[in-house]
Symmetry: D2
Subunit: 280 residues, 4 copies
Amino acid sequence: MVAKIVLGPNQYGKAECRLLRVTRDTERHVIEDLNVTSQLRGDFEACHTEGDNSHVVATDTQKNTVYAFARDGVGSPEDFLLRLGRHFVGEFAWVTGGRWAAEQYSWDRIADGDHSFVRTARATRTTVVEMDGDEVVVRAGLRDCTVLKSTGSEFHGFPQDRYTTLEGTTDRILATSVTASWRYAGTDLDFDGLYDDIRDLLLSTFSDVHSLALQQTIFAMGRAVLERYDDVVEISLSCPNKHHFLVDLEPFGLDNPGEVFFAADRPYGLIEATVLREEV
Amino acid sequence: MVAKIVLGPNQYGKAECRLLRVTRDTERHVIEDLNVTSQLRGDFEACHTEGDNSHVVATDTQKNTVYAFARDGVGSPEDFLLRLGRHFVGEFAWVTGGRWAAEQYSWDRIADGDHSFVRTARATRTTVVEMDGDEVVVRAGLRDCTVLKSTGSEFHGFPQDRYTTLEGTTDRILATSVTASWRYAGTDLDFDGLYDDIRDLLLSTFSDVHSLALQQTIFAMGRAVLERYDDVVEISLSCPNKHHFLVDLEPFGLDNPGEVFFAADRPYGLIEATVLREEV
Amino acid sequence: MVAKIVLGPNQYGKAECRLLRVTRDTERHVIEDLNVTSQLRGDFEACHTEGDNSHVVATDTQKNTVYAFARDGVGSPEDFLLRLGRHFVGEFAWVTGGRWAAEQYSWDRIADGDHSFVRTARATRTTVVEMDGDEVVVRAGLRDCTVLKSTGSEFHGFPQDRYTTLEGTTDRILATSVTASWRYAGTDLDFDGLYDDIRDLLLSTFSDVHSLALQQTIFAMGRAVLERYDDVVEISLSCPNKHHFLVDLEPFGLDNPGEVFFAADRPYGLIEATVLREEV
Amino acid sequence: MVAKIVLGPNQYGKAECRLLRVTRDTERHVIEDLNVTSQLRGDFEACHTEGDNSHVVATDTQKNTVYAFARDGVGSPEDFLLRLGRHFVGEFAWVTGGRWAAEQYSWDRIADGDHSFVRTARATRTTVVEMDGDEVVVRAGLRDCTVLKSTGSEFHGFPQDRYTTLEGTTDRILATSVTASWRYAGTDLDFDGLYDDIRDLLLSTFSDVHSLALQQTIFAMGRAVLERYDDVVEISLSCPNKHHFLVDLEPFGLDNPGEVFFAADRPYGLIEATVLREEV
């Protein structure tokens, strides 16, 4: 094989711009708290091969742009990232696309006050916008959403081989920290409303499904989202099985009818699946 | 100086026993989620100097005791730690005291379900019980409680020296992550009720005080607790000043009337104070 | 569009099996310290859609297999993962592939002792083996390798737009934490020797290159590996630009000729590129 | 009891000033990488009770002072903190003392280069200087120093009670992450030399002692330091017992003669002791 060594896929930018936006049009302030990453793709070969920076929109400039754009308001993280992406792709001929990502953190009002807040979260909201020429992909999601069922979970009927010691159970604790990411069909949607609804649907489906396997639960969660929201074309879930082991209290002369558990750290199960639409 | 080398203060035990207790007396389950540490003090000199373990209640035994005691229910973490401490001090003649600590994590019900939960927290609850012979000290507290005021905070009038560049301000963002720990006057209190009330009082005082300095705010928070709760004899607060810097948008032709902020990581201010009662 | 909702790509297994292997054939012990993840792919549809676990090799079984296989020795993490992968693919008809990953931690001997060690690391070694039918892909890499040049780094000549405030520099600090991952051409290689050599080559190239941009540095690092090692077909690097800002000491009547720096946390640059061979 | 509510012990300042100092007097650069915290004590009552900041040396000023002082060189972290402390106590009449702390990170040269470095650590070095009027206390220490013995450790002879299930062993793995902190007798010492020697002595003692309990090991480590270094008056050690459990391979038809271990996370033993000199 005769081959030369070349630059493959690449992107660069500024990561984790911590942005707090206060809207103080009235005495009742509103805050938006985000962590924004901007990365550009395009023709950056000369920089890699020769150190020629004439195409390199500085990562510092990307950061400045994030903060400057926030002056006009943030809105949904999806809309904010779309604005950023369109700016960079439109402004610089050699920037053909990129990846823009954000996390958003939740705050509640303290005692319904006008300008006092406490951070309270069931989940961190996530968003990724990718552009490649005219193609735009918007994904939304969440992570760090820890859920648990104290009953309504079974696991049995799995294959037995030389290395199998686990016994099946018809009643176990099921706990996981949900990471989910779904792709939207369009770019002109009510992203905030959809996020809230989908997060709640994921939670309620976790709650409602009588689980025979975490795989079954996460597929049901994904399917529920696709069934209800036509604007979602695909959803991926990654869920650790956070094991809670029943403690053997028999040496101490005690029974343990599903009441005392040891919450283990590692290892943990890791169940990952994508649910999508297939044309028929 | 003629001196010999001796053993000074020491303690040992098992740290971070992750305990989930499910109460399933009815279909509506209740869960308690704790992280328990047990450490003993007493006559352990022979172990240190000679490796003689005849006094060393194994850390594994301490862990087993935590889980076995949970079989009878947990209740408030303060009561649970008092039970543990009294057991160890009562059971082993050479154990004269110790330190027992717990963190407790909060869960909400999902859609008011009977056995489905999502972890949701404004704070991690903390408890430390220390025993030394007959003396018992119970402390409660919280950490990871992140609060923010988008106005109602000033800072000016500080001394100017050669190294001062900061300019005073009459309107800044005040944000911190509250760590607080208070000592109770007794061991027979409604610890769960007190915790909820004190946590809420800390939050509302943070919200209500027009701040001239974070020192002033945390002193006011501590004083409010002591004023309202006779059962609290002392409270310590440790609060990072999580700086939010107004971004200079002037280079981009934009003003920034307190709307766009950069949330910094390090360095951060660190303000710590104890508030207590002084007999007069 | 008429569409049905179906299961897409999926995998499951046990993550982060922390394994210490002591080889004690002689008095001079050897230790291997790994964190192993095993995930299977294949026909697991019935589990997702119906909760039928008859194909689900339990994650607990996968964990047991990791420890059981370690009884015969570990060797290079690449070889260990290949053994694991071939076992699962060979043992279960419906397992058509999977992903096996490992981290390995380094220990030095204390004072050249036979069985005493101190953990010391310039980097965490990483490995991923993926199988899909007969296709086997072996990747090796490292992460958490923090490097710094106190001179020999410039950055200028970048485009100026409305949001640009950064000034170019001909002498700055360049610091990053290298994450690299390279793909091997085969499965029968001296993986341990290659890892050590490639890690050292990445470091020395970082050191040797006079940098005009971090992009140029990481491309040079990747190219150096491909040039020297025919067994490497592709390498990806992900490198944060860990900014060190020169502190302005002028307000204090002091100059600062490149001596006193503030090491920032966030935001940080993030530069990512793949270097590969292109047939000509 | 008639009591009023008053301010108790308090301190405030700037935490985690990340400082990189490059000494470039010759082409062979030297770097010093620290994380510095400064906190003042004294008469700050008016600030707490009335929001009167006339005594409050701004935390921003403290940060500036750290960087300005670094212009003259850093040297040992102990000497640097002593300089800082003396400055604040000497400069402001109402500052009667304080607490100054630093962590220092280690870097090796890459291929013995003049200005290229890779972060490599067996431990993070720590220092705390406390001043109270004329009294000055200097402590040095380390943390994150992970050590392991693959044999030479026993644990048996401990008491048996109702909750004891652990069986004694004459050969186990002993692993811990050493946190140590020692107090020096003076302020005019070769702190860098002492640190290196004491760190090495702690490691070699861990290695040399045949352990009957982790308590015995840490007492021996502390005693060795006090025996050899008259300038050390006291040392405290805090050591988690990082359990490595022998995996039961019997279900798989395999023996396990001390070769395959599961490295557990939580819970862990936690052994803490101070060793000091007692006048006789």
